[in-house]
Symmetry: C2
Subunit: 430 residues, 2 copies
């Protein structure tokens, strides 16, 4: 009976883990592989070894780079072991994935400096518990390979198998040269998986070939092959193209808090040919690694209007800044942003203001009946429509929402009705 | 004046060397490169460094393998330095040149044993003077390369540049797999040239690509690039296909003297679509490395009939056996061959013999007048025709050439007139 109960718990646990781990993925290769891996690991009571290889070729990390780190963190939170490979050795070649020209080679110093930056940022996303995190440099095993060992490894790969890769084929057919050393890149990345005995490897969709190379090499060497999980690319602040420094649409992880906050806020609510709010939700999912349930909640609230997209983005921006700069910096960035935004709001409203003179009599207590004010301004056809506008929360005086039907009024005030009608009113001018 | 004279001598020397070194070549790359190299070397008074790389992958060496060794010897004889590279390291990959499938990998023990056999044979062709010969194993520099150095080397080659190679392209298009390690073969061979600072590299026509890879790599690394000299393939004993163990048309360098002698003798005098005797001359040139003047002499003698093709082949066979087994063994092999050949001749003649009874009277001294004998046999229409036949050396009795008009005769003898008319004669039977 106990084993049946335990089996039930494990089964429920499997389902729960799969739901989280599969969320936001672009592809699982082979299909169904994630279920099998998680099941095996939970039944054996051992954590999965989840590999993420990073190439310290670029010193400028951005939120797009954080996407696989967030997924890795999800694995950690479910009890698995993250193995972060710093490709200090491979960086000297440079990943040819998705490239149309050969990368320039980097010096060891550049690579080292970039690696340090990367780790600094990774520590802000990952769980640093040594039981949950291994950081390994692939020079550890690659730099000690001699030529014979390299030959043995390369013998496991075929030229045709490498050339089918989309980026290589495109370059080959376009007569853009591919250095022979670039063919060794997937070999090296694959060997990393052998060396660290990866169960799972994460990467962007542009990494699919390299991830599968690891799987194949493990298989050829008689090891249990890893599965490959690919993650979609995150769009940049233009909402259109993938985030990249070269498109100038990136949110750098080392950007100052205020700048970072503002960049997140600049992400558009809508983008052509996409469901409304999908970009905000994608940032929550990929950029912050929020769980499926929470994403669904936010989506529903945005749909029903219970959550203003601007508030959703402020929350997003706050969390992003909090991750990389801490909560205090995030609070400050939000306060600054709001102050600036309100000033800006006021300025732009002032430009829209229609100047009018309003003639209405106050009551005995000196207050004015607001529905009448709305009729007098031409913002409502009748006092009853004016009342309805106030009830719906559509009327502000000097920026303050009016919830009562009576109010005191100065000689000059701003009246805002809905989003568009803004008056600069002079009361009973003489 | 002295310098003019010296210059004249050098110039004459250059012309003489070029004539010898260019003889029997398939191609010189780049065209005119040989002249430049020889000129430079002679003017600087330093010998050329002439590389021949051999892959100890096959334990069965044959006369075809001796072709580049013979050319190397010519360089030595003209004062240059031969550098024989034993590809003990590259042998583990196996040269993919001209192959339609990936070679199986060899163990180090196999490679070592093959290398020893190769050197044994090479010593029989080359001049062993240490000033004229270096023997180097390429594991010396290749086995100590680490992965970084391998990457730097491979960065000098492009995938497209390797794939244009005819054999690779054929396999790629034919969907026959090419191991990535096979792409590293030309890289290694090229690096050998860098390491030993080759001025000239020799190889078969199937080596053209590899030889040029060496030239290119030297150039890219800022070294004086080598020239490539390719040698034609030697046909096997069938006179049709290139010599190869797999065609069973090879003359193994370790064949026993008698066998070796017989195999050379079996090379046909003529082959379809080729000038007469061309194969014999090719064996003299490529298999023995004879100089252009001598080849021209033999060709003329064969043409005029002054030299019987069979005698030319016997001389060829003797020299081949003498090279690999010494002069004594060659003498013995020739004697054996001739004895067997004469026995065989006699046996085949006996089958052709026409039995006849001949009735003629002896002279007073007991001898017989041979022209009469020829008339009596029906081999001549008249005594005067009979005399002419004897004068032309066309008459043999019991195998002995008859130069006199009179001879003693036994009761039974063999009479041979020309090549075809053979009689077994009974004299004056009762």
């Amino acid at each position: 009976l106990l084993s049946v109960i335990l089996f039930g718990i494990v089964k429920q646990e499997i389902v729960g883990q799969i739901e989280i781990l599969a969320s936001g993925l672009s592809e699982v290769l082979p299909a169904g592989g994630l279920e099998l891996k998680v099941k095996k690991a939970l039944e054996a009571g051992r954590p999965l070894r989840v590999k993420l290889g990073v190439d310290p070729t670029a010193p400028d990390l951005h939120l797009g780079h954080a996407v696989p780190l967030r997924k890795l963190r999800q694995f950690q939170d479910l009890g698995h072991r993250a193995i972060l490979i710093i490709g200090d050795f491979t960086a000297m070649v440079g990943d040819p994935s998705g490239r149309s020209v050969t990368r320039p080679s980097l010096s060891l110093d550049q690579v080292k400096a970039n690696a340090d930056t990367y780790i600094d940022q990774a520590f802000k996303v990952l769980d640093n518990d040594p039981d949950r995190l291994e950081i390994r440099y692939n020079s550890e095993w690659l730099s000690v390979l001699d030529f014979v060992q390299v030959l043995r490894l390369t013998a496991r790969f075929t030229v045709a198998g490498l050339l089918v890769r989309e980026d290589f084929m495109k370059r080959y057919k376009g007569e853009q040269s591919i250095g022979l050393h670039e063919f060794l890149y997937p070999v090296m990345q694959a060997y990393d998986s052998v060396e660290i005995e990866a169960d799972v490897e994460l990467g962007g969709t542009d990494q699919t070939f390299n991830l599968l190379a690891g799987r194949e090499l493990q298989e050829k060497l008689g090891l249990e092959p890893q599965i490959a999980l690919t993650l979609p690319l995150l769009e940049g602040t233009d909402g259109l193209k993938k985030m990249s420094k070269s498109y100038d649409n990136h949110i750098g992880l080392t950007f100052a808090p205020g700048d970072m906050f503002g960049k997140v806020m600049s992400v558009p609510d809508e983008a052509p040919d996409r469901p409304r709010f999908s970009l905000i939700l994608k940032y929550y999912q990929l950029g912050l690694g929020r769980l499926p349930q929470e994403i669904a909640d936010i989506a529903r609230q945005l749909e029903t209007g219970a959550l203003d997209p601007r508030d959703a983005k402020e929350e997003l921006a706050w969390r992003v800044v909090a991750t990389y700069h801490g909560k205090e910096a995030a609070d400050e960035a939000r306060a600054d942003f709001e102050a600036r935004f309100r000033t800006k709001d006021r300025e732009s409203e002032r430009a829209l203001e229609e100047k009018i003179d309003v003639f209405i009599e106050p009551q005995a207590d000196g207050k004015f009946y607001l529905p009448k004010l709305l009729v007098a301004c031409g913002a409502a056809a009748s006092a009853s429509e004016g009342r309805r506008l106030i009830d719906q929360g559509g009327v502000r005086i000097n920026g303050e929402l009016q919830t009562e039907l009576h109010s005191e009024l100065g000689d000059e005030f701003q009246l805002k009705v809905g989003k568009r009608k803004i008056f600069r009113a002079h009361l009973n001018p003489t």
